[in-house]
Symmetry: C2
Subunit: 307 residues, 2 copies
Amino acid sequence: MSLLVVGSLGIDTIETPFGRVENVLGGSATYISTAASYFVTPIRLVGVVGSDFPKEYIEFLENREIDLEGLQIVQGGKTFRWGGRYQYDMNSRDTLFTELNVFEHFDPIIPSSYKKTTYVCLGNIDPILQRRVLEQIEKPRLVVGDTMNFWIKGKHAELMKTFKLVDVLIINEAEARQLTNEPNLIKAAKLIIKLGPNVVIIKKGEHGALLVTERTIFFAPAYPLETINDPTGAGDAFAGGFVGWIARTDDLSEENFKRGVIYGSALASFCVERFSLERLKDISYLEIQDRFREFRELSKFEVEVLA
Amino acid sequence: MSLLVVGSLGIDTIETPFGRVENVLGGSATYISTAASYFVTPIRLVGVVGSDFPKEYIEFLENREIDLEGLQIVQGGKTFRWGGRYQYDMNSRDTLFTELNVFEHFDPIIPSSYKKTTYVCLGNIDPILQRRVLEQIEKPRLVVGDTMNFWIKGKHAELMKTFKLVDVLIINEAEARQLTNEPNLIKAAKLIIKLGPNVVIIKKGEHGALLVTERTIFFAPAYPLETINDPTGAGDAFAGGFVGWIARTDDLSEENFKRGVIYGSALASFCVERFSLERLKDISYLEIQDRFREFRELSKFEVEVLA
């Protein structure tokens, strides 16, 4: 099946208690498409960079069989840059700087070769742009969307319009609460389902992930990493692993969505092991299989009833 | 197998956004022994009340086949009283009043008929008293212990001595972090194992529970209740369900500890459905079995590997 990913491509500077990296590859579309490329190729990428975007990053994406026909390269423009610093507990981060650059006037144009795409993953960009992407695609089979606090607060009405077009919303715990003004996550998820998506996946960091549909609730554990070197991109790696698995299997059953959540969790757990895409770009299929099975062990128990 | 429970018995006043109850039955030993009584009877209770402790509460405990030979009734004394108020998100509570009364000078005396007890559950009391209980028991097969922030801060050295005698420590998320000064819960659990317990169970409220041993990590989901009427006693109901199951099956394997965590989670989920012990005192075996199976469904997924 074909998969289209839209989102940011950027150049990041990241500080964590375990180190600092400068001018490394970043951006939501980069993480999503790299994670998804383990499951389905080619990935159709839609995004924008400046002419300063390093050639090695282009080559990296091409080597992962990410189709760059939809990547706009603005001559003379500067690529989106972001700097962030994580605290010791890794749950909070401070943005050191955000330079939107060419991303500020990004207008996603879908090449004609992408118009018939079955699976679409909308990375965290302006909800107006997310809709503009969907308007150019002929009846996708599944639309997976992400968002963030910035749009929940600043473009609420636009976000609501986009939600009506999204089948699977992936959102983090704090954002789900903020969006619904409901502290109970199950209730929050059910409120989000009323806004449009049929499936809500809430990412809970070290507490795993929660999948909620009208009929099902599924808890996925988190992989018990003792050291997280860099949380950047974990949520996008999750989305990429999820949508990659669903696109590969072309199976929209609830059972398969659960497996997608586990593959998403697995890819996210690899992502945070090293800085930037250092780990995500170099995972073997055997490692992914092993980690999937380890997730199974983390929550497995044999039923023995009270007789 | 025999099970001894030590802890507080009290009279509670509780306010939540869903209601208020006054002078209801409370106390850690009460919740633990009531939950455990679904699995193993009689339960040997050790605690203290005043002569104001209502006769109906005595009868309730007796009807649940809780042996009260170890219950001291101080003539002319007043029973421990506690008042608390929960906020809307139910994760935090304010103590409105604490009257220790007869509990202040509690000296747990183990009746000779209790001295050969195979399973011991030490509810949250002064770690010195927890040790005094253990000194009077002949080689118990398993000691399960609970504690709280008050002792972690105020009686740290005594708590460390008690930990060396505890096999399974049940502790909540914030307390585990406080005890070890480590934000990562897996690391925190492993640090606690170095202090004595072989098994650490971290209660995470709406995020479920985590069981950690030297070799195993197990994530139990939380039961997705949309309305929690009263969180009081949930942790004690968890401990009671856990230790009750282990005592009933007399199986100290890691696989069985996992099932114990699920039974503990199930009893805790019933506990919070109504105020005080209103729900906990009246569960059918079929309801416990059904809920156990529902927990299985919440985290179950079929493996399908990336081929």
